[in-house]
């Protein structure tokens, strides 16, 4: 690595990219294929283990062969103003990407990449055509050159993120390029997550799985274990009917089952903490002049860059466990349909508000990201009625109607139906009430924040000038009550403010349109 290689001619990446292509080949087999493959594997494990010894090597050989072919046919070239990529074994694809269209250069560094000083470059474009511009396991100097050229293409000089972000441990000896030194001085660490926070992030995962552990109070955990053990051939198989549902009887049984549930929760927590360490270890959020950049990861290091001008929407969310910790999760959506939004997995309320005011600049001073902020206004309580009817009416009517069709009318049917309908309406009413309590919005001259959620609460904030379309919808009930639903289409998703005053919705629509039409800067 003494001399910077010439990327101006057609090149292959390093052969270590084969590892990437193996993984990519496996994940590219689409969802159905994956389902089929995993069920097939499970079936082989259960039913025909001898066959496995023959099928598995063939499958592995095929995957590796495809990966090697894909590596061989993957070539790229960096010209003055564009990147060209040619790839594809059977279906040839060639990508021509003008550098001034590049939104950001994200880096992934897997363990092999880090040991060998390589980078996987993901070029982020604003297009909605889903161009896959990813160059696996390239030399680190390529990322530097690419960044320098993108910087020239955008005529922003040293403002462009230099290559120092990935300069890290693995390749301190890499050649220094021009913009690096100046960018070094402009880099500023906004926040870092200590190892203790990894535990918190991991525990947040538990909230999603907590309801599932209730199964141990309905089914005997021992017979469940025996059933699944038997299915996969570890123990003597037992029939499904032998897994009887038996509610816990007696204190000792209850304590035993609570212990099993607690053990499962602990296992999930350990898994969550591990995955938090893997994804976010050493998580750092930087500011580099006009861009924000995160970096983190234990084995494979992941970098995401978002230019501040491209930010479309900022979301702060908090689930039940995070609420206990009084922490939030922040995600920043940019003007591309890349799934890799910039995520800050754990931060405090003060930090969130500081970031929000920084991201939006002087605009949106009256907004908030905090779900419990008093500035958020509730929507009309009519929402509860409409929502409860919408989710409750179908089950409330369907079951009695089905029973009527099967059994015919009787006194018992009428009684049960009445109880069932009441129960349905009660439950849906409670759900609707909770949803309504979560709903809220606040706006100022420049932007809007919308709170929503059910168990988890989240607040989406955006600036009016980032909007793409505005819609006002009115249902029959809303027309009677003088209400309306305002829908604002952003580049990422459509945000709704349901059940606000119709006049307000129309005024807001006209105002947002005015803001859009007098301002061209949205990405």
């Amino acid at each position: 690595m003494a001399k910077s290689p010439d990327f101006g001619r057609w090149r292959r990446t390093t052969p270590f990219a084969i590892v990437f292509f193996i993984r990519d080949t496996i994940s590219q087999v689409n969802t159905w294929g994956q389902l089929l493959a995993s069920f097939g594997l499970a079936a082989l494990l259960v039913r025909a283990r001898p066959l496995l010894a023959r099928v598995l090597p063939v499958a592995i050989f095929l995957t590796v062969a495809v990966a090697v072919l894909r590596y061989w046919f993957f070539r790229f070239r960096l010209e003055e103003d564009r990147i060209l990529i040619r790839k594809g074994v059977l279906r040839k694809t060639s990508i021509d990407l003008p550098l001034d269209r590049v939104q950001g250069i994200n880096l992934d560094r897997s363990l092999t990449d880090r040991v060998l000083g390589l980078v996987t470059v993901r070029v982020d474009t604003a297009g909605s055509d889903g161009v896959e511009a990813r160059i696996p396991s390239a030399q680190a100097a390529f990322a530097d050159q690419l960044r320098a050229k993108v910087g020239v293409a955008k005529r922003e000089g040293p403002a462009v993120p230099g290559g120092e972000g990935d300069a890290g441990d693995a390749r301190g000896e890499a050649p220094a390029t021009g913009p690096r030194d100046s960018a070094e001085s402009s880099k500023e660490v906004i926040m870092k997550l200590p190892a203790g926070d990894m535990v918190r992030i991991g525990l947040e995962l538990v909230a999603d799985f907590l309801p599932a552990t209730l199964i141990f109070f309905v089914y005997d955990p021992r017979s469940l274990l025996r059933y699944f053990g038997g299915q996969y051939g570890f123990t003597e198989p037992i029939g499904r009917d032998q897994v009887a549902s038996d509610y816990a009887t007696g204190l000792a049984d209850l304590i035993f089952r609570a212990g099993v549930a607690a053990g499962t929760v602990t296992l999930i927590a350990v898994g969550g903490i591990y995955s938090a360490f893997r994804t976010y270890y050493g998580f750092t959020l930087f500011r580099e002049r006009t861009a924000y950049r995160t970096r983190g990861g234990l084995f494979s290091l992941k970098e995401v860059v978002v230019e501040s001008a491209k930010i479309q929407q900022v979301r702060l969310s908090q689930n039940l466990v995070a609420r206990c910790f009084r922490r939030f999760r922040l995600s920043i959506h940019a003007a591309s349909d890349d799934v890799d939004v910039l995520v800050v997995p754990l931060l405090r309320a003060r930090m969130a508000e500081a970031l929000r005011s920084e991201l939006f600049g002087h605009e949106g001073g009256g907004l908030t990201l905090l779900p419990r902020n008093r500035a958020l206004v509730r929507v009309s309580p009519q929402y509860i009625r409409a929502r409860a009817l919408k989710i409750g009416i179908a089950p409330a009517v369907a079951l009695p109607a089905l029973a009527f069709a099967l059994e015919g009318p009787s006194v018992g049917w009428a009684e049960l139906s009445a109880i069932w309908i009441l129960a349905c309406l009660l439950v849906s009413g409670l759900i609707a009430l909770q949803s309504w309590r979560r709903l809220g919005y606040v706006h100022d001259d420049d932007g809007m924040a919308i709170r929503s959620g059910f168990v988890e609460s989240k607040v989406d904030a955006f600036l009016f000038r980032k909007a793409q379309s505005v819609k006002v919808t009115r249902s029959p009930l809303q027309r009677r009550k003088g209400l309306a639903t305002l829908e604002v289409g952003l580049a990422g998703e459509v945000l709704r403010v349901p059940y606000v005053d119709h006049g307000l919705a129309c005024r807001l629509r006209d105002y947002i349109l005015y803001k859009i039409e007098t301002n061209h800067r949205w990405h």
Binding site: A126, S128, R155, E156, A159, T290, S308, A309, A335, G361, H362, E363, H443, D444, D445, D446, A467, Q468, S469, V470, K471, V472, T473, R474, S475, P476, R479, E487, G489, L490, A491, G492, E493, V494, D501, G503, L504, C506, R507, L508, R509, D510, Y511, L513, Y514, K515, I516, E517, T518, N519, H520, R521, W522, H523
Partner: protein, 207 residues
């Protein structure tokens, strides 16, 4: 409801009292013909299914088919009548307005909505017309901004759709060429310059 000293709200152009342009008069006929074809296909399938059930070996299945027949006929009649009549109710309530800066489309009978897409956010436009559309001389115009909030205006005359598409393209280009026309707009936006200065870079235009 919100306080905004710089922009008097009353002066904002409202989207409430507009002269909505109707869709092409032949569009109702086109939808009805489409519905008729669908009714015929479903009816044919149902008839075949009925005779299959009747002609099968199982007598119970045949009796079941006979007992189902009046309900099926009534339901089918209702369905056919409703989808044949529905276009006459729904189409007059749809309409579009093209303004200097945006294009609006309203739709809906029970759930009514009005959506506006500003030209300076439009990424691309599309005209398509199916077999039936062409038979009636109609075309559909789609306007796509970034993300998911576009228009699909169905049932325009072919020439109207083409004229609209050309106009929309012209407006998109005009908006892209003069990104600094904030001063020309009826209302000043003092914050635009300030924010441009804040980010100390040239504003990225949509092109």
């Amino acid at each position: 409801m919100f306080i905004n000293p710089e922009v008097p709200l009353e002066s904002l152009p409202g989207a409430d009292n507009l002269d909505w342009l109707p869709l092409h008069p032949r569009f109702v006929r086109r939808l009805q013909l489409g519905a008729l074809l669908r009714v015929l296909v479903i009816g044919a399938i149902a008839t075949v299914a009925y005779f299959l059930m009747k002609g099968g070996d199982s007598a119970a299945l045949g009796r079941f088919a006979d007992s189902l027949l009046p309900f099926a006929l009534a339901g089918f009649g209702l369905f056919a009548a409703s989808i044949l009549i529905w276009p006459m109710i729904a189409v007059p309530r749809r309409g579009y307005v093209v303004r200097e800066k945006d294009i609006l489309y309203k739709t809906g009978v029970l759930w009514r909505s009005v959506k506006a897409v500003p030209f300076n956010r439009v990424q691309h436009t599309k005209i398509d017309s199916g077999l039936l559309d062409r038979r009636f001389g109609l075309a559909n115009l789609s306007v796509f901004p970034a993300g998911a909030g576009g228009h699909k205006i169905r049932g325009l005359g072919t020439d109207t759709a083409e004229r609209l598409r050309v106009y929309v393209s012209e407006r998109i280009e005009a908006e892209a060429i003069e990104p600094e026309d904030d001063q020309n707009s009826p209302l000043p936006d003092p914050q635009a310059e300030a924010s441009a200065a804040h980010e100390n870079g040239p504003p990225a235009d949509a092109g």
